[in-house]
Symmetry: C2
Subunit: 207 residues, 2 copies
DNA sequence: TTAACTTCCGACCGATCGGTTGCTATATTT
DNA sequence: AAATATAGCAACCGATCGGTCGGAAGTTAA
């Protein structure tokens, strides 16, 4: 009807597109996301949507970026104020649970990255690469925090950071499944129970 | 070209379709599976493929059934000969690792059910229902075996079977990701390390 | 006040989607 | 041998896919 086009307006439109794109993709997958559906949802034309990105793939990558920011804001940043080491690790894990919750969670269709990772884990291309990069970044952040906690004597000195990261990732993937597939109300508690074992403090007298 | 049509021949064709369908869906997802691609791969016409099932959804459900049989044959049946309880549980877990392996695993694109579960965990409909049913069945089987092991005194008496199932599912989802997304050669060992803790026998003197 | 640029739309493109129809060739039943 | 049933094909259906194009409306820079 009436094209609006100040620079600020344009950026707001772009953000609206990405927000909606993330919401759709968290349910239908990044591939199930279609330009037509997006345009209808936003009351725009397909050309208007695509004009901001040029290509569906670019839009998908931008959505990944956007989802990344949401994850960071929901899980990492709130814990940044907590003291480094085990305390921050525990805070991160608690925010991570909230982030995955069905009602108050960040995404309507469950963790965006779990969906994207499974969707693209057997394909090749830039999207898979981007997913891998993001995942590795997160794993590295976790491992760093764990290493710090070990060095501070808060976790047992024989802790293998990568092993712990491996088990944490699995735990939270399982939590996501329990919430999304079974709507299991106990899932959060089960996760916390597993965490108390995984993040058990080192016995007194270490270091 | 030349229609073949004995009853046995027809069933073999149906099986061929399902086999290929499973292979495709394990990579592209059950939704990414298309009749046209399937027909091309099999050297058939779309109508010839669809004639066996009537509907894409029916084909998807049949593929789920087929994948279920493969899983059972790869993970459950080989362990059926082992003594019930902890021994069988450990056997199942070992076969489960093999089943997920990149080279010798059952599916080219990683665990069919992990893919399907994540793909449909935020949707409604018969496919989601079928996935949920299969998953619950597997969880129940595992829980039963755990319960048996607890009653036999092989696992600590305070073991919560559902909690252990929860952690096992997470562990193997993580293993699938580590294999598919990162091709991590240590993933199997990490899984076994986690298992030795999760399936640690009860201390002597229990029961 | 222009001139250049940008946002967005409507219309359109070839390709592909799931699915239908009419038919032929073969198997099976009678 | 005749009648019936079925597997599979070619051709086609409307819908939708990602994407292109030219122009209209509006902003920004000169």
């Amino acid at each position: 009807m009436s094209p609006r086009k100040s620079a600020a307006e344009s950026r707001r439109t772009r953000d609206r597109i990405i927000d909606r794109s993330i919401a759709i993709a968290s349910v239908e997958g990044l591939d199930g996301l279609t330009i037509g559906r997006l345009a209808t949802d936003l009351g725009m034309s397909k050309a208007g949507v695509l004009g901001h990105f040029g290509t569906k793939e670019t839009l998908q990558l931008a959505s990944l970026d956007g989802a990344s920011a949401i994850f960071s804001r929901a899980v990492w940043e709130p814990a940044a104020g907590t003291a480094r080491g085990l305390a921050r690790l525990r805070a991160v894990c608690e925010y991570w649970i909230t982030y995955l919750e069905r009602e108050h969670g960040a995404f309507p269709g469950g963790c965006f990255f779990t969906t994207a990772a499974v969707e693209f884990d057997a394909r090749v291309g830039p999207i898979r690469d981007a997913v891998v990069r993001r995942s590795l970044l997160w794993r590295r952040r976790l491992a760093n925090e764990i290493r710090y906690a070990v060095n501070a004597g808060e976790l047992p000195p024989d802790t293998d950071p990568d092993q712990l990261v491996f088990e944490l990732i699995g735990l939270y993937t399982g939590l996501n499944q329990a919430i999304q597939l079974f709507a299991d109300p106990q899932a959060q508690d089960r996760t916390r129970r597993a965490l108390t074992r995984l993040l058990a403090p080192a016995p007194e007298g270490a270091r």
